[in-house]
C-alpha cells in the first residue's frame, strides 16, 4: 500500500523526484566541498549553473508541448559570438545593451524558424531542430571563425559582483523564471500547453489552437536560449562558436531528471530547473572526486546516460510489480 502511494505520488508530482535528487546532490557536494554554501562559492556556482538552468527552462516548455529543441546549443553559440564579436572587449555599455536586445530578437527569430517548420509545415521536431542546430552552429562559426572577442571587462565585473541582498544574482533570475512559469501554467495558455503535449489530436478537436501553441513553445525556447547565451557570455567574458554544442544534451538531461517526460504533457519547469542545478552539482562532484582528468569526460558522459536512462529504469521496476 505504501509503495502504491509513493508511485502515484511520483506520478502526480514528478518534480518531487527532482527535489530528492537535488537534495542528495547537495549533500554529497557539501561533503566533498564544505564551503559549498559560503557566499563566494555559492555565487560562483550559481553563475556557472545559470546558463543551463535558463536553457532547461526553455527546453521544458517545448517538451511539455510535445516537441523538443535540439538547436538550443546553436542559438546559445550565435548569441555568444554576436556579443563577443560585435561588442568586443573595448565596447561600450550602450553597445552591450543594444546587442543584448538584438540577441534576444535573434533568439526569438531562430525559435520562430524552428516553430515554422515544426508547427506549420508539420515536420518531425527531432530531425528538424537537428538540422537547424547545424545551421545555427554554422552561423555562429560564420560570425566568429576563431575564438576571441569578448565583452567589456566592466560588465563581466558587474555580473560577477552583483549580489542583491547578499544572494547570488542567479537566485533572482531563477525566481523570476519560476514566477513567470507559475503564472503561465495557471492561465488558459498553460492548459493549452499541457493539452497539446498530452494529446494533440484531442486538443485540436477541442478547438485548442494547436499550431499556434506549438509555434509559441519554440519561440520561448529560442528566447530562453538567447538569455542563456547572454548569461554564458557574461560568465566567460569571451567568444567561442563552439560554446553551446555540449549544452543541448545537458538541457535535455536536466529536463529528464526534472521529471518532465520527453513524451510531453506531463511535468513542469520547476523540476527541470532543479534538474539543471543537480546536473551542475554532479559536475562539481566529479571534479572534486579526484578522478584522473583523462577519465572525467567518460565519467560525466556515463552519468548523463544514466540520468537519461532513469525514467526507463524506474518504469521497468514499476512494470515488474
Amino acid at each position: 500500500m505504501k509503495r502504491f502511494r509513493m508511485n502515484s505520488l511520483l506520478t502526480r508530482r514528478p518534480a518531487l523526484f527532482a527535489l530528492i535528487l537535488l537534495v542528495l546532490a547537495l549533500i554529497i557536494n557539501f561533503i566533498l566541498q564544505p564551503n559549498l554554501f559560503a557566499g563566494d562559492t555559492l555565487n560562483s556556482n550559481m553563475r556557472v549553473f545559470l546558463p543551463i538552468i535558463l536553457l532547461a527552462a526553455g527546453q521544458a516548455v517545448v517538451i511539455l508541448g510535445g516537441g523538443i529543441d535540439i538547436s538550443v546549443g546553436g542559438i546559445v553559440s550565435i548569441v555568444n559570438t554576436i556579443l563577443a564579436a560585435r561588442v568586443g572587449l573595448e565596447g561600450s555599455t550602450e553597445a552591450m545593451w543594444q546587442y543584448v536586445g538584438i540577441s534576444l530578437l535573434v533568439g526569438a527569430l531562430a525559435g520562430a524558424i524552428n516553430g515554422f517548420f515544426v508547427a506549420y509545415l508539420r515536420l518531425q521536431p527531432i530531425i528538424t531542430t537537428y538540422a537547424t542546430s547545424f545551421l545555427y552552429a554554422g552561423f555562429a562559426l560564420f560570425i566568429l571563425p576563431n575564438p576571441g572577442g569578448g565583452i567589456p571587462a566592466s560588465i563581466a565585473e558587474l555580473y560577477r559582483n552583483t549580489s542583491p541582498l547578499g544572494l547570488p544574482l542567479a537566485f533572482f533570475v531563477i525566481a523570476i523564471v519560476l514566477g513567470l512559469w507559475w503564472y503561465i501554467q495557471s492561465t488558459r495558455y498553460g492548459n493549452y500547453l499541457f493539452a497539446v503535449g498530452g494529446k494533440a489530436q484531442a486538443a485540436y478537436e477541442t478547438a485548442v489552437p494547436v499550431t499556434a501553441v506549438q509555434f509559441s513553445t519554440y519561440v520561448i525556447s529560442g528566447l530562453m536560449a538567447a538569455f542563456s547565451g547572454i548569461a554564458i557570455t557574461m560568465l566567460s567574458g569571451s567568444g567561442n562558436a563552439d560554446i553551446g554544442s555540449a549544452m543541448t544534451l545537458n538541457s535535455i538531461t536536466a529536463v529528464v531528471i526534472g521529471g518532465t517526460a520527453l513524451s510531453g504533457g506531463v511535468g513542469g519547469v520547476a523540476g527541470p530547473v532543479m534538474g539543471a542545478i543537480t546536473l551542475g552539482l554532479i559536475q562539481n562532484i566529479v571534479s572534486f572526486a579526484h578522478i584522473d582528468t583523462w577519465w572525467e569526460t567518460l565519467v560525466k558522459a556515463t552519468i548523463i546516460v544514466f540520468a537519461l536512462a532513469m525514467p526507463g529504469i524506474i518504469n521497468l521496476f514499476r512494470r515488474r510489480e
Partner: protein
C-alpha cells in the same frame, strides 16, 4: 440561440478512400435527428464535417439557410456546435475539470484560471448525472484513472458545458450502462425543449427509437433515406442500412461436430479484462464469441495468440501450451486476424507480396527466392479472389475488402489449424462478406477450427455452431442450436438483469 444546419451532397476523401460521396443531413432546432449507418458508412465523417474537424471536398453546409464554411474547429465551436466524439477528445493526463473547461476556463484577475469556479461549475455538471456513477467521480481526478463509462460522461459534460445550439452525439452511449443511458436521454429531452438540436449518431436501434424524432441513413458514403421515426419500422430501417434485405440468406448446415475430438481446452483464463474463462472447442468447429464491446473478446484472442500475458491453462491437441510471443503460437499452427486491419494487420506502405509473406519469409531460403514467394502468394490470392493490379503494388491501393483478404491470405498460406478472428468483416463490403462466410465454412469443413469474435449479432447467429457470450470478464452463456437467437444473444450480452450481479 437556436440554429439550424444543413449539409448537402457532401463529398469527403481521405487520400484515395472515399468516405462520403453524397451525404446530406438536416439538423433543426428542438429535435433529435438520428444519423444511422453500419460501420464504415461515413457517419463519423459526416459529424466531423459538420463540426469543422475535417474539411469537405465537395457539397456545402448551410447555417440557417445561408452557405457557411468552417476553416477550423474553432469556427464551428464559435457558432455553438459541440461534439461528443466517438474516440474521446479528452487529454488523459489532465483532470476532469480541466478537460471539461479546456478553452473556456473561467478566468480571474490577470488571466489566471479560477480553480474555485472551475471546480464548482464542474460539480454542477457532474450533478446532472448524479446517482449513475459507480465510483466517486471528482473534478480533480486525472481522466486516465477513470473507467470507460465515466470517461464518456466527462466527454458529454464537456460538450454540453458550452451550452451548444447543436449537439452531436457520436456513439455517445457506447460505454454507458443502462442507467446512464436513461439519464442521458432524460437530459436530451430537456435540451430539446429549450431549442437545442441534437444529432444522434448510432447504430443501436433500440436507443434510436427511444430518443430520435427524425432519421437519416447513410450507406457506403451516400444518404439513402430520411424521414420521421414514427413513420418507419426497425426492419425497414435495417433494410435501408444494408444492400440486400438480409445478408443472411446464408444458410449454414450445422454439421455433426460431436464426434470430433476436442482440440482446444481453455481453463480459468485471466487477463486484465478476463476474470476466469473456461471452454472447449472441437476440431472443425466455428465457435463465435459475442457480447458487448470491450468485454474481453479481444483479450481472449490476443492471449491465446501469445500477444498479451495471461494466467490460466490452455491445452491444444492434448499438449499444454502457453505462448509468450505470436511466433510461438504460429509455430503451433495458430493464426490471428486482428481487429484493426490498418493498425494491426497490414504494412500499409509495403507491397501486397510483403504483406502476405511477412510471417513466412524464412521458408524461402537465403537469399530469398522471390519468384517462388510470388507464385505462392498469387496462388493464395487467386483462391481468395483477390482483386489487385500486381503483387508489387502497395497494399494501400486495395479496397477494404481486398485488403482484408490480404490479411487472411497471409495466414492461409501457412495452413493454420486454429484461426482466431477479431471482427474480421468490419468495414468490409457486402459482396466480400459473403465470400468470407463461404470461406470460413469451407475451412471448417476441411477440419480447421475457428474462434470468431463479431460485433454483428446476425453474423454470429448465421455462421457459428455455438456462441460464447462474454460479459464482465466471464462467459455468461453458451448458446447452441435452437437457443442461438438474437434475443438470447442480446440479453446475454447485457448480462442478466442488473440485480442478478454478484
Amino acid at each position: 440561440m437556436t440554429l439550424s444546419l444543413s449539409a448537402r451532397n457532401v463529398v469527403k476523401r481521405y487520400g484515395g478512400v472515399v468516405a462520403l460521396s453524397d451525404g446530406s443531413l438536416d439538423v433543426n432546432a428542438g429535435e433529435v435527428v438520428a444519423l444511422i449507418g453500419a460501420n464504415g458508412s461515413g457517419k463519423s465523417t459526416m459529424s466531423k464535417v459538420i463540426n469543422g474537424v475535417v474539411v469537405l471536398d465537395g457539397g456545402q453546409l448551410l447555417i440557417d439557410g445561408k452557405p457557411a464554411h468552417f476553416p477550423s474547429p474553432q469556427a464551428a465551436k464559435a457558432l455553438g456546435i459541440a461534439t461528443v466524439f466517438q474516440e474521446l477528445s479528452l487529454i488523459p493526463q489532465m483532470t476532469v475539470a480541466d478537460n471539461v473547461w479546456l478553452t473556456r476556463e473561467p478566468l480571474g484577475a490577470g488571466g489566471i484560471v479560477s480553480r474555485k469556479m472551475v471546480n464548482a461549475r464542474t460539480e454542477e455538471l457532474l450533478a446532472l448525472f448524479a446517482g449513475t456513477f459507480k465510483t466517486d467521480l471528482r473534478p480533480d481526478l486525472p481522466v486516465s484513472e477513470l473507467p470507460p463509462d465515466e470517461k464518456q460522461i466527462v466527454e458529454i459534460l464537456k460538450a454540453i458545458s458550452v451550452d451548444p445550439s447543436i449537439l452531436i452525439l457520436d456513439e455517445a452511449t457506447a460505454s454507458l450502462d443502462s442507467r446512464q443511458v436513461q439519464r442521458l436521454f432524460e437530459l436530451v429531452n430537456k435540451w430539446k425543449a429549450t431549442g437545442q438540436a441534437i444529432v444522434f449518431v448510432s447504430h443501436r436501434m433500440e436507443e434510436i427509437f427511444r430518443i430520435a424524432d427524425r432519421f437519416s441513413v447513410l450507406r457506403n458514403g451516400k444518404t439513402v433515406g430520411a424521414g420521421m421515426i414514427k413513420d418507419i419500422t426497425e426492419k425497414d430501417l435495417v433494410k435501408l442500412m444494408v444492400d440486400k434485405a438480409s445478408v443472411f440468406s446464408f444458410a449454414r448446415k450445422s454439421g455433426q461436430k460431436d464426434e470430433k475430438p476436442v482440440c482446444l481446452e481453455v481453463s480459468e483464463l485471466q487477463t486484465r479484462t478476463l476474470r476466469g474463462v473456461s471452454f472447449n472447442v472441437r476440431e472443425g468447429e466455428l465457435v463465435g464469441i459475442g457480447g458487448l464491446q470491450g468485454q474481453g473478446q479481444r483479450d481472449l484472442l490476443l492471449s491465446l495468440f501469445g500477444d498479451i500475458p495471461f494466467a490460466g491453462n490452455v491445452q491444444y491437441n492434448g499438449e499444454p501450451v502457453h505462448f509468450r510471443h505470436p511466433r510461438q503460437a504460429m509455430k503451433n499452427g495458430f493464426a490471428l486476424v486482428p481487429g484493426d486491419r490498418a493498425r494491426e494487420g497490414l504494412l500499409y506502405i509495403r507491397s501486397i507480396l510483403e504483406n502476405m509473406q511477412l510471417p513466412s519469409w524464412m521458408r524461402y531460403g537465403f537469399p530469398l527466392k522471390i519468384g517462388k514467394a510470388k507464385k505462392d502468394a498469387e496462388q493464395t490470392g487467386a483462391s481468395l479472389n483477390l482483386k489487385m493490379a500486381s503483387l508489387m503494388e502497395p497494399v494501400s491501393s486495395l479496397s477494404g475488402g481486398n485488403a482484408q483478404k490480404v490479411v487472411i491470405g497471409k495466414w492461409l498460406m501457412r495452413q493454420p489449424g486454429l484461426l482466431l478472428l477479431d471482427d474480421p468483416t468490419k468495414g468490409v463490403d457486402v459482396g466480400t462478406k459473403a465470400e468470407f462466410y463461404a470461406l470460413l465454412t469451407q475451412l471448417c469443413d476441411e477440419g480447421k477450427t475457428i474462434l470468431f469474435y463479431s460485433s454483428d449479432d446476425e453474423e454470429l447467429i448465421g455462421l457459428c455452431d455455438r456462441v460464447l457470450v462474454l460479459h464482465d470478464g466471464h462467459i455468461k452463456t453458451e448458446l447452441v442450436g435452437a437457443a442461438l437467437t438474437k434475443e438470447n444473444l442480446v440479453s446475454a450480452s447485457l448480462g442478466v438483469a442488473e440485480g442478478d450481479e454478484q
